[in-house]
Symmetry: C2
Subunit: 240 residues, 2 copies
C-alpha cells in the first residue's frame, strides 16, 4: 500500500515537515533552512494504524519517511509464508533506501505510528547535494548494521530463553530510558511477531515468557505490559 494514499485515523490535515526539525535530527534536522523549506512544502505528516504496511516487499515506493512516533517492523517473507522480522525502528529513524527503487523488505507499523512522508526524487536530490544528510544516513545504516549483526548472534547461537530475554532487553532499551533499575514498558509486538523476530514459534515464546515470569525476572500485567524489576539480572541472562 502506498502510504500517501493510506487512510490513517486522522488523515485530514497535512502538517508541514518543519515540525520534524523541532523534534528530531535524523533527516530534517540536517537540512539547511532553504532545503528544509523545499522539503516542507512537499512533505506530509501521516498517521498509520498498527498493522498496515508503509512499504511492501518487492514494491516500488515513491516515498521515504521519518518515524515521529511509534514502532515500525521490517519484515522479510518467503514464498511459502515463513517470515522473519529483521529490525525494529523507532523515532526518529528514517525508513526507506535512498536511490533504490524496489524494496527487498516490507515496513509495517507495529503500533500506531506517525510518520513524516516525502517524495523520493526530491530527497534523493537533496542527499546528493548535502554531505551532512549523507553522513546522517550513513550513520543510521551503520547503526542498523550493528543491530543486525548482534541479532544474527541471537538467532544463530542463543537458546529460546536467551532469545526472549534479548528481545525484552531490546525493547526496554528503546522505551524511554528509565532512571531507576526498574524498567516498565509496553510490548509493541504480539507473540506471533516476537516469534517471527526470534525465529521461534508462538508457543515457545509464550512458554519462555511464562518461565521468566515464574523465575521473577519479569512481572506481567495485561499480556503486553511488562515490568523488569532488575535490568542487570536480565542482561546477565543474555551474555553468557
Amino acid at each position: 500500500m502506498d502510504v500517501a494514499r493510506s487512510k490513517g485515523s486522522d488523515a485530514g490535515t497535512p502538517v508541514a515537515c518543519a515540525s520534524c526539525q523541532a523534534r528530531h535530527g535524523v533527516v530534517c534536522g540536517v537540512l539547511s533552512s532553504g532545503q528544509l523549506k523545499d522539503l516542507g512544502r512537499h512533505s506530509l505528516r501521516r498517521k498509520v494504524d498498527a498493522g498496515s504496511e508503509i512499504v511492501a516487499q518487492g514494491s516500488e515506493s515513491s516515498f521515504y519517511s521519518n518515524i515521529m512516533r511509534g514502532v515500525v517492523k521490517l519484515c522479510k517473507v518467503m514464498p511459502d509464508g515463513r517470515q522473519q522480522i529483521v529490525d525494529l525502528q523507532f523515532a526518529p529513524d528514517f525508513v526507506g533506501r535512498p536511490f533504490v527503487r524496489e524494496s527487498t523488505l516490507s515496513a509495517e507499523a507495529a503500533t500506531d505510528v506517525e510518520i513524516c512522508v516525502f517524495p523520493r526524487d526530491l530527497l534523493d536530490r537533496m542527499i546528493s547535494e548535502t554531505p551532512e544528510l549523507r553522513r546522517s544516513l550513513h550513520d543510521q545504516a551503520l547503526k542498523e548494521l550493528d543491530a543486525a549483526r548482534e541479532w544474527m548472534l541471537t538467532l544463530g547461537r542463543r537458546t529460546a530463553e536467551e532469545k526472549v530475554a534479548s528481545l525484552l532487553h531490546l525493547i526496554a532499551t528503546h522505551a524511554e530510558p528509565q532512571t531507576a533499575t526498574t524498567t516498565v514498558f509496553d510490548l509493541p509486538l504480539s507473540r506471533a511477531e516476537i516469534a517471527d523476530f526470534l525465529g521461534l514459534t508462538i508457543e515457545t515464546v509464550s512458554r519462555q515468557i511464562t518461565r521468566l515470569r515464574k523465575s521473577g525476572v519479569i512481572r506481567i500485567e495485561k499480556f503486553r505490559h511488562i515490568i523488569v524489576p532488575n535490568m542487570d539480572e536480565m542482561e546477565r541472562m543474555i551474555s553468557a
Copy 2:
C-alpha cells in the same frame, strides 16, 4: 593482533597503495589524485595467513584495510565461547568502521589474504573531506546491511538443508562469475566455520553436505572443492 605487526609470509616490501586504484574502486578508486598520493605514502600491502586476525573483537585498531585478494570472515564471540560468523568479505571490500575506535567484532582471514592497510586518522580525515569516499562507504554499508538481513532470514527460518544450500549459493555467487550453468569453486571455510556461519553444529553441516551430494545437487572432490552442476536447482532449494 595488530595487522601492522603481523608476520605475513612476504612481509618484506611495503607496496604503495596506488595499485589499489588500478584494481579496485571501493576506497582508493574514489580518491582524488592528491589524496591518493597522501594515502599511498602511508599505506602498506600486506599478506595475512589464513586463520590470523586482522582486527580483534573489543580491540582498538589504528588501521583500516582494503581486501585485495582472499576471503575475510567477520565474527562475534560470546563470553562462553559460542560464536557466530556475521559476514564474509571479498575483494575489494573495505574492512573497518570509520570513526569508531573499538570494534564489536573480529575480522579474520578465512583464506590467505592480501590487504592494503592504512592509518585510521588519515582515512577518517579523508572521509570527512571527500563526499565520493563517503558515498562509497555508505554504499558498502547498505550492501552489507542487505546481506545481513537476508542472512537473518536464513538463520531464523530456514532448515539445516536450506541453510547449507544458502551458504554454497553465497560462496558460488562470490567466486568468479561463471558463464555456464555449472559452477565450480573452493570453499573458503572449514566445516566448523560453516557451522558458525549457519548456527548449526559441525556434524549437521557434514550430514547435510552429504545429503546434497547423494541427491546429486552437488559433487565433491577433496572436501573443500565443490561442483554445482545446476545452479538453478540449488536456488530452488533456498527460496521455498
